[in-house]
């Protein structure tokens, strides 16, 4: 039984047109032109309880609009949506009780007071039973190392500490579903790892369904087994991360350092991705040209001082999909 069921979600925005500069601003005082933007255009997916899904897309693709509809902030223009059996746009408060949200760019903690005061207020807002509150606070203190700064005013916390506080705050009421919007943005490597461990732990131990929206694809690689890719308001891929890697992770990069910077490098089976001085990056399709073949060809034509092969990472894969478009099954040919 799916915990989140979205069918053909659509969202259309309407806004007033405003021209540039002083003239445009004055003109806008008197005009009333409206333009329509389709932010989400027929998105459908379904999530089982306990899944941890990466929801990815370039800026402006419709990611945040979808999340807003899921969390009850926006009402869809059309389509159906059920989250834990509740239609968010019809029963906002009931839906809110079932979810936790972490906005990476914005904190829900109270700036001026110690962290624990924020938790107290949230306890009242979500009506968390005493024993659950105590248990959760203890668990989070351990997992997130909160005790150290529970008494510090939030405005004095470092970004990493504040994020950890925000995570605990989102989980305090044992939500069935948690939305993470850019949860590791701006964090250092150590903090990111701590957050990822926490998220994985919560997902594993409590079976919390998690939707992760992020530009940091290392998050996705570490946590998600399934990804949904959205572009221009529509889903272009919905499936296992592994399959994506297999389908689209077929290219590799050969980095060649030439002995002679003037040397022209033009080999069959590979394209020059970039060239900086005597360092040339060649892109090739593993299925079409083997690494061994390419290296042989390169060495036949030029004098080399260094070679390096770079495996595709999820970043490159996703970038490639957005620039080339997704074709199911075929791995695409290099341009």
């Amino acid at each position: 039984m799916a915990i989140i069921e979205a069918v053909d979600l659509r969202k259309v925005y309407r806004s007033i047109v405003r021209g540039p500069g002083l003239a445009g601003a004055v003109k806008a005082l008197f005009s009333r032109e409206i333009e329509e933007t389709v932010a989400v255009d027929g998105v459908s997916f379904s999530l089982q309880p306990g899944e941890l899904v990466g929801y990815l897309g370039p800026n402006g693709a419709g990611k945040s609009t979808t999340i807003k509809m899921l969390t009850g902030i926006l009402v869809p223009t059309s389509g159906t949506l059920r989250v834990a059996g509740v239609v968010p746009s019809e029963r906002r408060q009931a839906n809110a009780q079932n979810i936790g949200v972490v906005f990476g760019q914005r904190s829900q903690l109270y700036w001026d007071l110690p962290l624990r005061e924020s938790f107290e207020l949230l306890r009242a807002i979500y009506d968390v039973p005493d024993d659950r509150y105590r248990t959760n606070m203890k668990t989070f203190a351990e997992l997130l190392d909160l005790d150290r700064f529970l008494g510090t005013p939030v405005r004095q916390l470092s970004l990493g500490e504040r994020m950890r506080g925000d995570f605990a705050a989102a989980m305090l009421h044992d939500p069935a579903i948690v939305y993470l919007d850019e949860p590791t943005i701006g964090l250092d490597v150590v903090a990111k790892e701590a957050i990822r461990t926490f998220v994985a732990e919560i997902n594993r131990e409590r079976g919390t369904t998690i939707i992760l929206t992020t530009h940091d694809l290392a998050d996705v690689e570490r946590l998600a087994r399934r990804v949904i890719l959205i572009d221009e308001g529509a889903v272009i891929y919905d499936g296992a991360l592994e399959r994506l890697r297999q389908e689209y992770g077929t290219h590799r990069t050969l980095v060649v350092t030439l002995a002679n910077p003037e040397q022209r490098l033009d080999v069959e089976g590979a394209t020059v991705e970039s060239r900086e001085g005597n360092v040339v990056r060649l892109r090739f399709e593993r299925k079409k040209t083997s690494a061994e073949t390419l290296i042989r060809r390169v060495m036949e034509c030029c004098e080399i001082s260094d070679l390096q092969i770079i495996e595709p990472d999820i970043d490159g894969i996703v970038r490639r999909i957005y620039t080339e478009g997704y074709q199911d099954g075929a791995a695409g040919t290099p341009s």
Binding site: V26, A28, L29
Partner: protein, 271 residues
């Protein structure tokens, strides 16, 4: 390349700042219309209040009803321009720390705030024109002879400068303490009351009159207004305007001292 000679003064960056301020004010269409609307309402209010006050009490000989209504209406319009805190940006940027980037730019920082504020002032001054037209419809404002108007104009500019320096000094305190908006509002209120914007100073109890005429606030509103309605006669113009000029100079000097002290503090504290 080392720039040894003092660069020529450029108007362009300050003009651009002023234009940006005007565009910024114009984007809030609702604000614009409500401002004009509120002037209308206020003019109506002052007319009704003074009419009611003059109806059942002994009226002052030197200030008949039409004169006091003129006084209050002109004071209201003056207030539109004078109550704008031109250097508010200074406080705001000190508050959020972005002022450091201002010092990195190759323009005079104090002037840049002045330019920004001037854009705002000009925009609102332009708004006065429709407000003035409405004023003439709602209440009857006396129009004095041209010489008086000229003296009024000079006095108004000086009064404006006095107000500008007071605000500047206030905003400079933001170099030391951060929360000044309340203090600023307090000062605005006091200057409005003690400056004669709300009630002509000549109507104050005699005891209080002795005090308020000595304060710089009187130079902001009362002096130009009393010239306008003729209570300060042509023979008294020179003295009155002279006092204003002295206040303007004194406050300008105090402001420059504060500015220098404040910027020194910023530089030594590292922003």
């Amino acid at each position: 390349m080392i720039i040894a000679a003092r660069p020529r003064f450029r108007w362009a960056p300050y003009r651009a700042l002023a234009a940006r301020a005007m565009a910024r004010e114009a984007t809030y269409r609702f604000d614009v219309f409500t401002s004009i609307g509120s002037v209308l309402v206020r003019l109506y209010l002052l007319k009704m209040v003074w009419t009611a006050l003059y109806a059942h009490n002994t009226t002052p000989a030197e200030l008949p009803l039409h004169a006091v209504i003129t006084y209050s209406a002109v004071a209201l319009l003056m207030g539109l321009v004078m109550d704008i805190d031109q250097t508010r940006a200074l406080h705001d940027r000190l508050h959020d720390g972005t002022i450091v980037t201002d010092f990195l730019k190759p323009i005079n920082v104090a002037l840049s705030f002045f330019a920004d504020g001037t854009g705002e002032v000009i925009f609102h001054a332009i708004l006065i024109v429709p407000s003035l037209v409405l004023a003439l419809l709602v209440v009857h404002i006396d129009v004095p002879p041209p010489m008086t108007l000229a003296a009024f104009a000079v006095s108004f500019v000086l009064g404006y400068l006095v107000g500008f320096w007071i605000n500047f000094i206030l905003n400079c305190t933001a170099f030391w303490t951060l929360e000044i908006s309340a203090v600023q509002l307090i000062v605005t209120w006091l200057t409005d009351l003690l400056g004669g914007e709300i009630i002509p100073l000549v109507l104050f109890p005699v005891v209080l009159q002795k005090i308020v005429f000595v304060l710089p606030f009187a130079a902001m509103f009362s002096t130009p207004l009393l010239i306008y309605v003729g209570i300060i006669s042509p023979s008294g113009w020179a003295a009155a305007i002279g006092v204003q000029a002295v206040w303007a100079a004194v406050l300008a000097f105090a402001a420059s001292l504060m500015w220098r002290a404040g910027t020194r503090r910023i530089v030594s504290q590292g922003g």
